[in-house]
Amino acid sequence: MRGVLDRFEDGGVAVIIAEQAGREFHVPLRYLPEGSRQGMWFTLSIEDGRVVDIEADLRQANERMDKAEELLARLRSKNTGSRFKRK
């Protein structure tokens, strides 16, 4: 299944969320592919509910990040400012 490295948490844990499968995995940093960082996408092999293999999916990571940036840019360009702003 596919998962994205949502964040790092205390105790040296990477929180990988597999959104389509509705599952979340906590993976110790040493098991991550080299150069893994927040926003990285992975292909995960799961056995008995545990991640047994993890492979970076750079294409998916770039595609999703581009999509997020594009949407942010779009929202910013449409922004007319908060109606509650005083200063």
Binding site: I17, A61, E69, L75, K85
Partner: protein
């Protein structure tokens, strides 16, 4: 600003003061009633129990605001808003794009009429984040990225933006942070902002004094540094964390530090949803459950990092087994300890029962 016990609140209510025990106005006021509502209204802040995540809902004078929307694979925020019979939300904030903060925001935007969405501006490549932006876009909701020094006024509520001044790219460190005041009562929200961000807020010459502080990053020791804590000087400190969460939130030293500064601590893990009500002068705290805030299980003997002496604190582990454990490192789970000759299922069960061993990096 004075904190009152519930008994005191009720007595004051009887004596003719504003009865804080009454629910606030969850529904938008009719235009003609606005002035009257502003005079007699109050602010209610719900620190919603969303397990390991964060969500707060504020309602006052017929207005409302949501600060973060819980974890991505839950629906507790939606259920809570439904229970409150919310009809619209004036401002919905995602303090930063992590899925334990913006988790249910997309569904909130799809379910309710939302006036504005505020975000830090840092992206995430998760579908949870992308779906949130798509929901903003599709509903044509105005989008705002507040920055330090910005001020907003919504009815009798004032919001001063404390952070960030500009984005650094560190999602936690760039968490949107606010001082929200209603009359003389003030609240601080900082998302998962870390101690460096807190230092910048302290150095930023903005007022930080507040009665109620939502402790940063679920009570982790990455946040709620002493300088910031002293600048805020809260009477009440609240953290939002899941019961028995795997990260050890909140940290013992952070709880101790907050208590040493004279704050009363509440946590959503032990107290459930925590509701603070204020008339702008006095405030009261109501919790779903009674209980004393307690540190998470982050004090453990790390089988991958402990010394041989520490390992012998574990049930059934003597010097020889401690050395065998060190030779066999690393372990991915406690169960893998059975790899060590001399540790069988029985010994493993004893270890687990003791609850002191953990697997660290």
């Amino acid at each position: 600003m004075k904190k009152l016990m519930w008994l005191a609140v009720l007595l004051l209510g009887l004596a003719g003061c504003v009865p804080l025990g009454e629910p606030a106005n969850p529904k938008p006021a009719e235009p003609g009633q606005q002035a009257a509502q502003e005079q007699s209204g109050g602010l209610v802040v719900h620190y919603i129990d969303v397990g390991q995540g964060s969500a707060a809902y504020l309602e006052w004078d017929g207005y409302s605001m949501l600060i973060d929307a819980g974890d991505w694979n839950a629906s507790d925020v939606l259920m809570y808003l439904d229970k409150l019979e919310v009809e619209k939300i004036d401002i919905a904030v995602g303090t930063h794009p992590d899925a334990d903060h913006i988790g249910q925001l997309a569904r909130v935007l799809e379910t309710y009429e939302v006036g504005e969405v505020w975000m830090s501006g840092n992206p995430s490549s998760s579908n949870t984040f992308i779906r949130t932006l798509e929901a903003v876009d599709e509903a044509g909701i105005p989008y705002e990225e507040p920055r330090r020094g910005d001020e907003y006024e919504i009815g009798s509520l004032a919001i001063e933006v404390l952070h960030p001044k500009e984005l650094s790219g560190d999602t936690n460190g760039d968490s949107l942070s606010f001082r929200i005041s209603y009359g003389e009562t003030a609240f601080i929200f900082t998302g998962d902002a870390d101690i460096q961000a807190e230092q910048e807020m302290v150095a930023g010459n903005l007022p930080l004094g507040a009665d109620i502080l939502l402790m940063g990053h679920h009570g982790s020791n990455t946040s709620t540094g002493l300088d910031f804590l002293q600048a805020v000087g809260p009477d009440v400190a609240i953290y939002s964390a899941g019961l028995d969460n795997p990260y050890g939130h909140p940290y013992a030293e952070v709880l101790a530090s907050v208590e040493n500064e004279g704050a009363e601590v509440y946590g959503t893990d032990v107290n459930g949803t925590i509701i603070v009500e204020t008339d702008g002068q006095e405030y009261s705290v109501e919790t779903e459950r009674e209980g004393v805030a307690k540190e998470g299980s982050n004090r453990c003997v790390d089988i991958n990092g402990a010394s041989s002496a520490e390992l012998t604190e574990l049930t059934g582990i003597g010097q020889a087994l401690a050395e065998a454990i060190i030779d066999e490192r690393p372990f991915e789970t406690l169960d893998d300890l059975t790899r060590v000759s001399g540790i069988g299922e029985g010994k493993l069960a004893g270890l687990k029962e003791q609850g002191l061993a953990c697997v660290g990096e």
